[in-house]
Protein backbone atom coordinates (compact mmCIF):
# COMPACT_ATOMS: atom_id res chain seq x y z
CA UNK A 1 0.00 0.00 0.00
CA UNK A 2 1.30 3.51 -0.81
CA UNK A 3 1.35 6.01 2.05
CA UNK A 4 -2.40 6.68 2.36
CA UNK A 5 -1.79 9.40 4.92
CA UNK A 6 -0.42 11.53 2.09
CA UNK A 7 -3.76 11.52 0.27
CA UNK A 8 -6.28 14.27 0.82
CA UNK A 9 -9.25 13.73 3.05
CA UNK A 10 -11.55 13.47 0.03
CA UNK A 11 -9.33 10.80 -1.54
CA UNK A 12 -9.14 8.94 1.76
CA UNK A 13 -12.92 8.99 2.07
CA UNK A 14 -13.25 7.42 -1.37
CA UNK A 15 -10.50 4.89 -0.60
CA UNK A 16 -12.14 3.80 2.65
CA UNK A 17 -15.58 3.55 1.04
CA UNK A 18 -14.17 1.50 -1.87
CA UNK A 19 -12.34 -0.70 0.68
CA UNK A 20 -8.99 0.08 -1.01
CA UNK A 21 -7.65 0.14 2.54
CA UNK A 22 -9.15 -0.12 6.00
CA UNK A 23 -9.21 2.51 8.70
CA UNK A 24 -6.88 0.29 10.75
CA UNK A 25 -4.40 0.21 7.85
CA UNK A 26 -4.71 3.95 7.34
CA UNK A 27 -4.35 4.70 11.05
CA UNK A 28 -1.34 2.36 11.34
CA UNK A 29 0.24 4.12 8.39
CA UNK A 30 -0.21 7.50 10.14
CA UNK A 31 1.23 6.10 13.37
CA UNK A 32 4.28 4.78 11.51
CA UNK A 33 4.86 8.13 9.81
CA UNK A 34 4.47 9.95 13.12
CA UNK A 35 7.13 7.70 14.63
CA UNK A 36 9.40 8.02 11.58
CA UNK A 37 9.28 11.82 11.71
CA UNK A 38 9.45 12.19 15.48
CA UNK A 39 12.27 14.72 14.95
CA UNK A 40 9.66 17.31 13.91
CA UNK A 41 8.43 17.21 17.54
CA UNK A 42 4.90 17.83 16.29
CA UNK A 43 3.29 15.64 18.94
CA UNK A 44 3.14 15.49 22.72
CA UNK A 45 1.04 12.36 23.08
CA UNK A 46 0.45 9.49 20.67
CA UNK A 47 -2.80 7.62 21.35
CA UNK A 48 -1.98 4.38 19.53
CA UNK A 49 -4.18 2.04 21.53
CA UNK A 50 -7.29 4.23 21.53
CA UNK A 51 -6.74 5.18 17.88
CA UNK A 52 -6.53 1.58 16.71
CA UNK A 53 -9.65 0.70 18.72
CA UNK A 54 -11.51 3.63 17.13
CA UNK A 55 -10.24 2.59 13.69
CA UNK A 56 -11.39 -0.99 14.23
CA UNK A 57 -14.82 0.26 15.22
CA UNK A 58 -14.93 2.47 12.12
CA UNK A 59 -14.02 -0.54 9.97
CA UNK A 60 -16.92 -2.52 11.45
CA UNK A 61 -19.29 0.30 10.47
CA UNK A 62 -17.75 0.60 7.02
CA UNK A 63 -18.18 -3.15 6.55
CA UNK A 64 -21.91 -2.69 7.15
CA UNK A 65 -21.96 -0.14 4.34
CA UNK A 66 -22.16 2.88 6.59
CA UNK A 67 -20.31 6.04 5.69
CA UNK A 68 -19.97 9.66 6.75
CA UNK A 69 -17.39 12.28 5.83
CA UNK A 70 -14.93 11.50 8.65
CA UNK A 71 -15.72 7.85 9.39
CA UNK A 72 -12.37 6.09 9.88
CA UNK A 73 -10.28 9.20 9.10
CA UNK A 74 -7.28 9.74 11.42
CA UNK A 75 -6.87 13.24 12.81
CA UNK A 76 -4.55 15.02 15.22
CA UNK A 77 -5.68 17.48 17.88
CA UNK A 78 -3.90 20.50 19.32
CA UNK A 79 -3.09 19.67 22.92
CA UNK A 80 -5.11 22.66 24.14
CA UNK A 81 -8.33 20.73 23.51
CA UNK A 82 -9.29 18.23 26.20
CA UNK A 83 -9.66 14.55 25.34
CA UNK A 84 -11.18 12.15 27.85
CA UNK A 85 -8.62 9.67 29.14
CA UNK A 86 -5.85 11.14 26.93
CA UNK A 87 -3.29 13.37 28.59
CA UNK A 88 -3.85 17.05 27.73
CA UNK A 89 -0.88 19.23 28.67
CA UNK A 90 -1.34 22.54 26.84
CA UNK A 91 2.45 22.18 26.43
CA UNK A 92 2.87 23.29 30.03
CA UNK A 93 4.63 21.79 33.01
CA UNK A 94 1.49 22.92 34.87
CA UNK A 95 -0.63 20.26 33.13
CA UNK A 96 2.03 17.71 32.24
CA UNK A 97 0.15 14.90 34.03
CA UNK A 98 -3.41 16.11 33.44
CA UNK A 99 -5.79 13.45 32.12
CA UNK A 100 -9.16 15.06 31.41
CA UNK A 101 -12.27 13.24 32.66
CA UNK A 102 -14.33 14.57 29.74
CA UNK A 103 -14.19 15.38 26.04
CA UNK A 104 -14.39 18.86 24.55
CA UNK A 105 -17.55 19.33 22.46
CA UNK A 106 -15.49 19.36 19.26
CA UNK A 107 -13.96 16.00 20.23
CA UNK A 108 -17.41 14.55 20.98
CA UNK A 109 -18.53 15.68 17.54
CA UNK A 110 -15.52 14.13 15.82
CA UNK A 111 -16.06 10.86 17.67
CA UNK A 112 -19.77 10.83 16.81
CA UNK A 113 -18.78 11.07 13.16
CA UNK A 114 -16.38 8.16 13.57
CA UNK A 115 -13.12 10.10 13.22
CA UNK A 116 -10.00 8.49 14.71
CA UNK A 117 -7.92 10.59 17.09
CA UNK A 118 -4.32 9.50 16.64
CA UNK A 119 -2.30 12.05 18.58
CA UNK A 120 -2.14 15.36 20.43
CA UNK A 121 -0.13 18.17 18.87
CA UNK A 122 2.63 20.24 20.38
CA UNK A 123 1.99 23.99 20.71
CA UNK A 124 3.19 27.14 22.43
CA UNK A 125 2.47 26.83 26.16
CA UNK A 126 -1.20 27.70 26.77
CA UNK A 127 -1.37 28.76 23.10
CA UNK A 128 0.69 31.85 23.86
CA UNK A 129 3.20 32.32 21.10
CA UNK A 130 3.78 32.34 17.36
CA UNK A 131 6.65 29.90 16.91
CA UNK A 132 6.23 26.87 19.27
CA UNK A 133 9.36 27.98 21.10
CA UNK A 134 7.28 28.54 24.25
CA UNK A 135 6.41 24.84 24.52
CA UNK A 136 7.61 23.08 27.67
CA UNK A 137 8.15 20.06 25.39
CA UNK A 138 10.60 21.79 23.04
CA UNK A 139 9.96 23.52 19.72
CA UNK A 140 8.30 22.02 16.65
CA UNK A 141 10.32 22.08 13.43
CA UNK A 142 9.02 23.37 10.13
CA UNK A 143 8.79 20.45 7.65
CA UNK A 144 9.98 22.74 4.81
CA UNK A 145 13.18 23.61 6.67
CA UNK A 146 13.84 21.99 10.03
CA UNK A 147 15.98 24.94 11.15
CA UNK A 148 12.90 27.14 11.00
CA UNK A 149 9.78 27.67 13.12
CA UNK A 150 6.47 26.22 11.92
CA UNK A 151 4.59 29.24 13.27
CA UNK A 152 2.28 29.03 16.22
CA UNK A 153 0.65 28.52 18.45
CA UNK A 154 -0.99 25.55 16.66
CA UNK A 155 2.51 24.54 15.58
CA UNK A 156 2.36 20.75 15.76
CA UNK A 157 -1.05 20.60 14.07
CA UNK A 158 0.19 22.59 11.06
CA UNK A 159 3.55 20.80 10.83
CA UNK A 160 1.91 17.35 11.05
CA UNK A 161 -0.56 18.11 8.25
CA UNK A 162 2.11 19.76 6.07
CA UNK A 163 4.43 16.79 6.54
CA UNK A 164 1.65 14.39 5.56
CA UNK A 165 1.63 12.59 8.89
CA UNK A 166 -2.14 13.10 9.24
CA UNK A 167 -4.67 14.35 6.66
CA UNK A 168 -6.18 16.97 8.98
CA UNK A 169 -5.93 18.48 12.44
CA UNK A 170 -7.68 20.78 14.86
CA UNK A 171 -6.01 23.91 16.17
CA UNK A 172 -7.11 26.97 18.09
CA UNK A 173 -6.76 30.57 16.98
CA UNK A 174 -6.81 33.50 19.40
CA UNK A 175 -4.78 36.04 17.41
CA UNK A 176 -3.70 34.04 14.37
CA UNK A 177 -2.67 30.70 15.82
CA UNK A 178 -4.27 28.68 13.00
CA UNK A 179 -3.71 31.04 10.07
CA UNK A 180 -0.06 31.96 10.69
CA UNK A 181 1.22 28.36 11.08
CA UNK A 182 -0.89 27.35 8.04
CA UNK A 183 0.94 30.09 6.14
CA UNK A 184 4.41 29.09 7.41
CA UNK A 185 3.76 25.40 6.67
CA UNK A 186 2.11 25.82 3.25
CA UNK A 187 -1.31 24.36 4.04
CA UNK A 188 -4.92 25.56 4.39
CA UNK A 189 -6.17 26.70 7.79
CA UNK A 190 -9.36 28.47 8.83
CA UNK A 191 -10.42 30.26 11.97
CA UNK A 192 -14.21 30.53 11.81
CA UNK A 193 -16.36 33.39 13.05
CA UNK A 194 -16.15 33.81 16.83
CA UNK A 195 -19.04 31.77 18.24
CA UNK A 196 -19.25 29.35 15.30
CA UNK A 197 -17.57 26.50 17.20
CA UNK A 198 -18.00 25.53 20.85
CA UNK A 199 -15.14 26.39 23.19
CA UNK A 200 -16.34 23.86 25.78
CA UNK A 201 -13.29 21.84 26.70
CA UNK A 202 -10.83 24.20 25.02
CA UNK A 203 -8.26 25.29 27.60
CA UNK A 204 -9.04 28.98 27.99
CA UNK A 205 -6.47 31.62 27.07
CA UNK A 206 -8.39 34.76 26.02
CA UNK A 207 -12.07 33.89 26.03
CA UNK A 208 -13.36 36.79 23.92
CA UNK A 209 -11.01 35.72 21.11
CA UNK A 210 -10.35 31.96 21.39
CA UNK A 211 -11.87 29.88 18.61
CA UNK A 212 -11.23 26.35 17.35
CA UNK A 213 -10.03 26.13 13.75
CA UNK A 214 -9.00 23.39 11.34
CA UNK A 215 -6.06 22.46 9.09
CA UNK A 216 -5.99 20.49 5.86
CA UNK A 217 -3.85 20.15 2.75
CA UNK A 218 -6.87 21.14 0.64
CA UNK A 219 -9.67 23.66 1.01
CA UNK A 220 -12.32 20.93 0.67
CA UNK A 221 -10.73 19.03 3.58
CA UNK A 222 -11.04 22.10 5.82
CA UNK A 223 -14.66 22.58 4.74
CA UNK A 224 -15.46 19.00 5.80
CA UNK A 225 -13.66 19.35 9.13
CA UNK A 226 -15.27 22.68 10.02
CA UNK A 227 -18.70 21.34 9.05
CA UNK A 228 -18.30 18.55 11.58
CA UNK A 229 -17.19 20.64 14.56
CA UNK A 230 -19.34 23.76 14.02
CA UNK A 231 -22.64 24.59 15.66
CA UNK A 232 -24.23 26.02 18.77
CA UNK A 233 -23.53 24.28 22.06
CA UNK A 234 -25.50 24.99 25.20
CA UNK A 235 -22.34 24.23 27.19
CA UNK A 236 -20.67 27.34 25.72
CA UNK A 237 -22.74 30.45 26.26
CA UNK A 238 -20.59 32.35 23.74
CA UNK A 239 -21.36 29.93 20.93
CA UNK A 240 -24.09 31.47 18.81
CA UNK A 241 -27.34 30.10 17.33
CA UNK A 242 -26.76 30.61 13.62
CA UNK A 243 -27.82 28.59 10.59
CA UNK A 244 -24.97 26.31 9.52
CA UNK A 245 -24.59 26.28 5.73
CA UNK A 246 -23.29 23.22 3.87
CA UNK A 247 -19.70 24.39 3.28
CA UNK A 248 -18.89 21.58 0.85
CA UNK A 249 -22.00 21.98 -1.30
CA UNK A 250 -21.08 25.36 -2.77
CA UNK A 251 -17.31 24.95 -2.98
CA UNK A 252 -17.13 24.70 -6.74
CA UNK A 253 -19.29 27.71 -7.58
CA UNK A 254 -18.27 30.65 -9.68
CA UNK A 255 -16.56 33.63 -8.04
CA UNK A 256 -17.54 35.98 -10.89
CA UNK A 257 -18.51 39.41 -9.64
CA UNK A 258 -17.35 38.84 -6.07
CA UNK A 259 -15.79 42.00 -4.73
CA UNK A 260 -12.44 41.56 -3.01
CA UNK A 261 -11.23 44.38 -0.80
CA UNK A 262 -7.47 44.89 -0.67
CA UNK A 263 -6.62 46.87 2.49
CA UNK A 264 -3.84 49.31 1.63
CA UNK A 265 -2.56 49.38 5.23
CA UNK A 266 -1.69 45.66 4.99
CA UNK A 267 0.85 46.25 2.20
CA UNK A 268 2.98 48.91 3.81
CA UNK A 269 6.25 48.99 5.73
CA UNK A 270 7.30 45.74 7.38
CA UNK A 271 5.93 43.44 4.67
CA UNK A 272 8.55 41.23 3.04
CA UNK A 273 8.71 42.16 -0.69
CA UNK A 274 8.52 38.52 -1.80
CA UNK A 275 5.40 37.96 0.33
CA UNK A 276 3.93 41.19 -1.04
CA UNK A 277 4.51 40.11 -4.66
CA UNK A 278 3.06 36.63 -4.11
CA UNK A 279 -0.07 37.96 -2.41
CA UNK A 280 -0.62 40.60 -5.09
CA UNK A 281 -0.16 37.95 -7.79
CA UNK A 282 -2.73 35.77 -6.02
CA UNK A 283 -5.23 38.65 -6.00
CA UNK A 284 -4.56 39.17 -9.74
CA UNK A 285 -5.26 35.48 -10.27
CA UNK A 286 -8.62 35.83 -8.46
CA UNK A 287 -9.41 38.81 -10.71
CA UNK A 288 -8.57 36.72 -13.78
CA UNK A 289 -11.11 34.19 -12.48
CA UNK A 290 -13.85 36.83 -12.52
CA UNK A 291 -13.62 38.53 -9.13
CA UNK A 292 -13.25 42.29 -8.81
CA UNK A 293 -10.55 43.82 -6.63
CA UNK A 294 -10.76 47.23 -5.04
CA UNK A 295 -8.54 49.07 -2.58
CA UNK A 296 -10.08 49.56 0.86
CA UNK A 297 -8.85 51.20 4.03
CA UNK A 298 -8.81 49.69 7.52
CA UNK A 299 -7.09 52.59 9.28
CA UNK A 300 -7.32 51.22 12.83
CA UNK A 301 -5.80 47.81 12.05
CA UNK A 302 -2.39 49.32 12.80
CA UNK A 303 -3.40 49.41 16.48
CA UNK A 304 -4.35 45.73 16.60
CA UNK A 305 -1.06 44.49 18.10
CA UNK A 306 -1.27 46.96 20.99
CA UNK A 307 -4.97 46.28 21.58
CA UNK A 308 -4.53 42.53 21.39
CA UNK A 309 -1.66 42.28 23.85
CA UNK A 310 -3.62 44.31 26.39
CA UNK A 311 -6.93 42.47 26.00
CA UNK A 312 -5.55 38.95 25.55
CA UNK A 313 -3.13 39.38 28.47
CA UNK A 314 -5.91 40.71 30.69
CA UNK A 315 -8.14 37.75 29.88
CA UNK A 316 -5.22 35.34 30.27
CA UNK A 317 -4.39 36.68 33.73
CA UNK A 318 -7.96 35.96 34.77
CA UNK A 319 -8.28 32.57 33.04
CA UNK A 320 -4.97 31.27 34.33
CA UNK A 321 -5.73 32.18 37.93
CA UNK A 322 -7.38 28.74 38.17
CA UNK A 323 -3.94 27.10 38.21
CA UNK A 324 -3.19 27.46 41.89
CA UNK A 325 -1.60 24.15 42.89
CA UNK A 326 -4.63 23.22 44.98
CA UNK A 327 -6.97 21.03 42.94
CA UNK A 328 -5.07 19.76 39.89
CA UNK A 329 -1.94 20.53 37.92
CA UNK A 330 1.49 21.17 39.32
CA UNK A 331 2.06 21.75 43.06
CA UNK A 332 5.34 23.04 44.51
CA UNK A 333 6.79 20.91 47.29
CA UNK A 334 6.99 21.95 50.96
CA UNK A 335 5.13 25.27 50.83
CA UNK A 336 5.72 27.50 53.84
CA UNK A 337 2.27 29.08 53.71
CA UNK A 338 -0.70 29.46 51.38
CA UNK A 339 0.81 32.39 49.46
CA UNK A 340 3.99 30.38 48.95
CA UNK A 341 1.97 27.39 47.70
CA UNK A 342 0.23 29.55 45.09
CA UNK A 343 3.25 31.59 44.01
CA UNK A 344 5.81 28.83 43.73
CA UNK A 345 3.41 26.34 42.12
CA UNK A 346 2.67 28.91 39.44
CA UNK A 347 6.15 30.27 38.85
CA UNK A 348 7.80 26.85 38.90
CA UNK A 349 5.31 25.48 36.36
CA UNK A 350 4.60 28.42 34.00
CA UNK A 351 7.15 29.33 31.35
CA UNK A 352 8.43 32.87 30.98
CA UNK A 353 6.01 33.96 28.22
CA UNK A 354 2.98 32.79 30.21
CA UNK A 355 4.26 34.66 33.26
CA UNK A 356 4.92 37.73 31.11
CA UNK A 357 1.32 37.79 29.86
CA UNK A 358 -0.15 37.14 33.30
CA UNK A 359 1.91 40.03 34.66
CA UNK A 360 0.95 42.36 31.83
CA UNK A 361 -2.71 41.38 32.21
CA UNK A 362 -2.67 41.85 35.95
CA UNK A 363 -1.10 45.27 35.49
CA UNK A 364 -3.59 46.55 32.88
CA UNK A 365 -6.51 45.43 35.02
CA UNK A 366 -5.11 46.80 38.25
CA UNK A 367 -6.62 49.73 40.07
CA UNK A 368 -5.34 53.02 38.67
CA UNK A 369 -4.37 51.55 35.27
CA UNK A 370 -7.60 49.89 34.15
CA UNK A 371 -8.96 52.92 32.29
CA UNK A 372 -5.68 53.96 30.74
CA UNK A 373 -4.94 50.52 29.32
CA UNK A 374 -7.74 47.94 29.36
CA UNK A 375 -10.75 50.21 28.80
CA UNK A 376 -8.86 52.19 26.17
CA UNK A 377 -7.93 48.97 24.35
CA UNK A 378 -11.57 47.83 24.41
CA UNK A 379 -12.58 51.10 22.78
CA UNK A 380 -9.95 50.83 20.06
CA UNK A 381 -11.17 47.27 19.51
CA UNK A 382 -14.55 48.81 18.64
CA UNK A 383 -12.88 51.06 16.06
CA UNK A 384 -11.02 48.11 14.50
CA UNK A 385 -14.28 46.16 14.20
CA UNK A 386 -16.15 49.18 12.79
CA UNK A 387 -13.56 49.53 10.00
CA UNK A 388 -14.38 46.01 8.81
CA UNK A 389 -18.12 46.61 9.14
CA UNK A 390 -17.88 49.71 7.01
CA UNK A 391 -15.93 48.09 4.15
CA UNK A 392 -18.17 45.01 4.15
CA UNK A 393 -21.26 47.25 3.97
CA UNK A 394 -19.95 49.57 1.27
CA UNK A 395 -17.06 48.13 -0.66
CA UNK A 396 -16.51 44.40 -0.76
CA UNK A 397 -17.65 40.84 -0.01
CA UNK A 398 -14.35 39.68 1.43
CA UNK A 399 -10.83 40.93 2.09
CA UNK A 400 -7.56 39.54 0.73
CA UNK A 401 -4.18 40.29 2.30
CA UNK A 402 -1.04 38.56 3.54
CA UNK A 403 -1.40 36.14 6.46
CA UNK A 404 2.01 37.04 7.90
CA UNK A 405 4.57 39.72 7.03
CA UNK A 406 7.32 37.15 6.41
CA UNK A 407 7.85 33.49 5.69
CA UNK A 408 9.04 31.13 8.45
CA UNK A 409 11.99 32.53 10.39
CA UNK A 410 14.83 30.66 12.05
CA UNK A 411 14.35 28.89 15.37
CA UNK A 412 15.78 31.16 18.05
CA UNK A 413 15.69 34.26 15.85
CA UNK A 414 13.02 36.13 17.84
CA UNK A 415 13.07 34.37 21.20
CA UNK A 416 14.88 37.18 22.98
CA UNK A 417 12.54 39.87 21.70
CA UNK A 418 8.88 39.19 22.52
CA UNK A 419 7.66 42.46 21.04
CA UNK A 420 9.26 41.56 17.69
CA UNK A 421 7.47 38.21 17.88
CA UNK A 422 4.15 39.93 18.63
CA UNK A 423 4.53 42.18 15.57
CA UNK A 424 4.51 39.07 13.36
CA UNK A 425 0.79 38.75 14.14
CA UNK A 426 -0.01 42.17 12.70
CA UNK A 427 -2.18 40.88 9.81
CA UNK A 428 -4.08 38.19 11.70
CA UNK A 429 -4.95 40.10 14.87
CA UNK A 430 -7.48 42.57 13.38
CA UNK A 431 -9.89 39.84 12.19
CA UNK A 432 -9.54 38.12 15.57
CA UNK A 433 -10.43 41.29 17.45
CA UNK A 434 -13.42 41.81 15.13
CA UNK A 435 -14.51 38.16 15.53
CA UNK A 436 -14.40 37.57 11.77
CA UNK A 437 -13.60 34.35 9.90
CA UNK A 438 -10.12 34.18 8.38
CA UNK A 439 -8.60 31.56 6.10
CA UNK A 440 -4.99 31.14 5.04
CA UNK A 441 -4.04 29.22 1.89
CA UNK A 442 -0.76 28.67 0.07
CA UNK A 443 -0.05 31.23 -2.67
CA UNK A 444 3.59 30.65 -3.51
CA UNK A 445 7.13 30.28 -2.21
CA UNK A 446 9.96 32.66 -1.51
CA UNK A 447 13.47 32.28 -2.91
CA UNK A 448 14.34 29.82 -0.11
CA UNK A 449 11.37 27.61 -1.02
CA UNK A 450 9.43 28.62 2.08
CA UNK A 451 5.64 28.79 1.72
CA UNK A 452 3.73 32.08 1.55
CA UNK A 453 0.12 32.39 2.74
CA UNK A 454 -2.79 34.41 1.35
CA UNK A 455 -5.31 35.44 3.99
CA UNK A 456 -9.00 35.80 3.16
CA UNK A 457 -11.20 37.56 5.73
CA UNK A 458 -14.98 37.39 5.49
CA UNK A 459 -18.15 38.87 6.90
CA UNK A 460 -19.39 37.38 10.16
CA UNK A 461 -20.74 33.83 9.53
CA UNK A 462 -19.60 33.88 5.90
CA UNK A 463 -16.98 31.13 5.97
CA UNK A 464 -18.71 29.74 2.84
CA UNK A 465 -17.43 32.61 0.68
CA UNK A 466 -13.88 32.12 1.98
CA UNK A 467 -14.03 28.41 1.11
CA UNK A 468 -15.46 29.17 -2.33
CA UNK A 469 -12.74 31.69 -3.20
CA UNK A 470 -9.98 29.49 -1.76
CA UNK A 471 -11.26 26.54 -3.81
CA UNK A 472 -11.34 28.62 -7.01
CA UNK A 473 -7.75 29.74 -6.40
CA UNK A 474 -6.62 26.21 -5.53
CA UNK A 475 -8.19 24.85 -8.74
CA UNK A 476 -6.42 27.48 -10.84
CA UNK A 477 -2.94 27.09 -9.33
CA UNK A 478 -0.44 24.30 -8.74
CA UNK A 479 0.94 25.19 -5.29
CA UNK A 480 -0.97 22.25 -3.85
CA UNK A 481 1.28 19.83 -5.70
CA UNK A 482 4.37 20.97 -3.76
CA UNK A 483 5.29 19.03 -0.64
CA UNK A 484 8.17 19.35 1.80
CA UNK A 485 11.09 16.98 1.42
CA UNK A 486 11.42 15.37 4.83
CA UNK A 487 14.60 13.49 4.05
Amino acid sequence: MTEPALLTLTQLRAGLDRKDFSSVELTSSCLKLIEKHADLNAFIEICEEQALAQAKHADSLLAKGETSPLLGIPLAIKDAIVTAGIRTTCASKMLQNFIPPYDATVIQKLKQEGAVIVAKNNLDEFAMGSSSENSAFGPVKNPWDKKRVPGGSSSGSAAAVAAGLVPGALGTDTGGSVRQPASFCGIVGIKPTYGRVSRYGVVAYASSLDQVGVFGRRTADCATLLQTIAGHDFKDSTSIQQPLPDFSANLETDIKGLKIGVPKEYFEEGLDPQVCDAVKAAIDKLVSLGAQACEVSLPHSQYAVAVYYIIASAEASSNLSRYDGVRYGYRASNPSDLQDLYCRSRSEAFGIEVQRRILMGTFVLSSGYFEAYYLRAQKVRTLIAEDFKRVFENDCDLIACPTAPTTAYLLGEKVQNPLQMYLGDVYTLPASLAGLPGLSLPCGFDSQRLPIGLQLIGRPWDEATLFKVAQAYENATAWKTHAPNLG
Partner: protein, 94 residues
Protein backbone atom coordinates in the same frame (compact mmCIF):
# COMPACT_ATOMS: atom_id res chain seq x y z
CA UNK B 1 9.09 53.06 33.62
CA UNK B 2 8.71 49.76 35.43
CA UNK B 3 11.38 49.02 38.01
CA UNK B 4 12.14 45.58 39.39
CA UNK B 5 10.17 46.35 42.55
CA UNK B 6 7.09 47.30 40.47
CA UNK B 7 7.30 43.97 38.66
CA UNK B 8 7.61 42.23 41.98
CA UNK B 9 4.49 43.97 43.28
CA UNK B 10 2.42 42.99 40.21
CA UNK B 11 3.86 39.48 40.42
CA UNK B 12 2.65 39.24 43.99
CA UNK B 13 -0.85 40.38 42.93
CA UNK B 14 -0.77 37.67 40.24
CA UNK B 15 0.51 35.06 42.74
CA UNK B 16 3.77 34.61 40.87
CA UNK B 17 7.25 34.34 42.32
CA UNK B 18 9.67 34.86 39.45
CA UNK B 19 13.35 34.17 40.03
CA UNK B 20 15.80 37.09 40.10
CA UNK B 21 16.84 36.38 36.51
CA UNK B 22 13.23 36.17 35.37
CA UNK B 23 12.45 39.38 37.20
CA UNK B 24 15.05 41.29 35.20
CA UNK B 25 13.81 39.90 31.88
CA UNK B 26 10.17 40.51 32.77
CA UNK B 27 10.86 44.09 33.81
CA UNK B 28 12.76 44.85 30.61
CA UNK B 29 10.09 43.25 28.40
CA UNK B 30 7.22 44.89 30.27
CA UNK B 31 8.76 48.30 29.66
CA UNK B 32 9.18 47.61 25.95
CA UNK B 33 5.57 46.40 25.64
CA UNK B 34 4.12 49.30 27.66
CA UNK B 35 6.13 51.74 25.56
CA UNK B 36 4.73 50.13 22.41
CA UNK B 37 1.08 50.23 23.53
CA UNK B 38 1.37 53.96 24.32
CA UNK B 39 0.46 54.57 20.66
CA UNK B 40 -3.18 54.06 21.74
CA UNK B 41 -2.94 57.33 23.66
CA UNK B 42 -2.85 59.24 20.36
CA UNK B 43 -6.45 58.30 19.50
CA UNK B 44 -9.46 60.44 20.38
CA UNK B 45 -11.91 57.94 21.85
CA UNK B 46 -14.66 60.36 22.86
CA UNK B 47 -18.01 58.63 22.54
CA UNK B 48 -16.54 55.26 21.53
CA UNK B 49 -18.09 52.31 23.36
CA UNK B 50 -15.76 49.63 24.71
CA UNK B 51 -16.16 46.17 23.12
CA UNK B 52 -16.15 43.17 25.42
CA UNK B 53 -17.86 40.75 23.05
CA UNK B 54 -17.89 40.88 19.25
CA UNK B 55 -21.51 39.90 18.74
CA UNK B 56 -22.82 42.04 21.58
CA UNK B 57 -24.70 39.13 23.15
CA UNK B 58 -25.73 39.13 26.77
CA UNK B 59 -25.71 36.40 29.37
CA UNK B 60 -27.39 33.18 28.33
CA UNK B 61 -29.41 31.48 31.05
CA UNK B 62 -31.17 28.14 31.18
CA UNK B 63 -33.72 26.62 33.50
CA UNK B 64 -32.15 25.65 36.80
CA UNK B 65 -32.68 21.93 36.40
CA UNK B 66 -30.11 19.36 37.52
CA UNK B 67 -28.25 17.63 34.71
CA UNK B 68 -25.67 14.87 34.73
CA UNK B 69 -22.17 16.09 35.52
CA UNK B 70 -18.84 14.62 36.58
CA UNK B 71 -18.91 12.09 39.40
CA UNK B 72 -16.88 12.86 42.53
CA UNK B 73 -14.29 10.28 41.49
CA UNK B 74 -13.96 11.87 38.04
CA UNK B 75 -13.73 15.35 39.51
CA UNK B 76 -11.00 14.20 41.88
CA UNK B 77 -9.17 12.10 39.27
CA UNK B 78 -6.50 14.77 38.73
CA UNK B 79 -6.27 15.88 42.33
CA UNK B 80 -2.75 16.25 43.64
CA UNK B 81 -3.83 14.76 46.96
CA UNK B 82 -7.22 13.73 48.37
CA UNK B 83 -8.84 12.89 51.66
CA UNK B 84 -12.24 11.17 51.38
CA UNK B 85 -14.15 13.30 48.87
CA UNK B 86 -11.97 16.38 49.29
CA UNK B 87 -8.93 17.99 47.74
CA UNK B 88 -6.16 17.81 50.30
CA UNK B 89 -3.58 20.57 50.72
CA UNK B 90 -0.50 20.68 52.93
CA UNK B 91 -0.89 22.13 56.43
CA UNK B 92 -0.35 25.82 55.85
CA UNK B 93 -1.75 27.32 59.05
CA UNK B 94 -0.21 26.26 62.34
Amino acid sequence: MFKAEDTLKIASLARLAPSQDELLVLTKDSNAILEYVRQLETLDLTGVQPMSHVHGVTNVLREDEPEPSLTVDEALSNAIDTHDNFFKVPIIIE
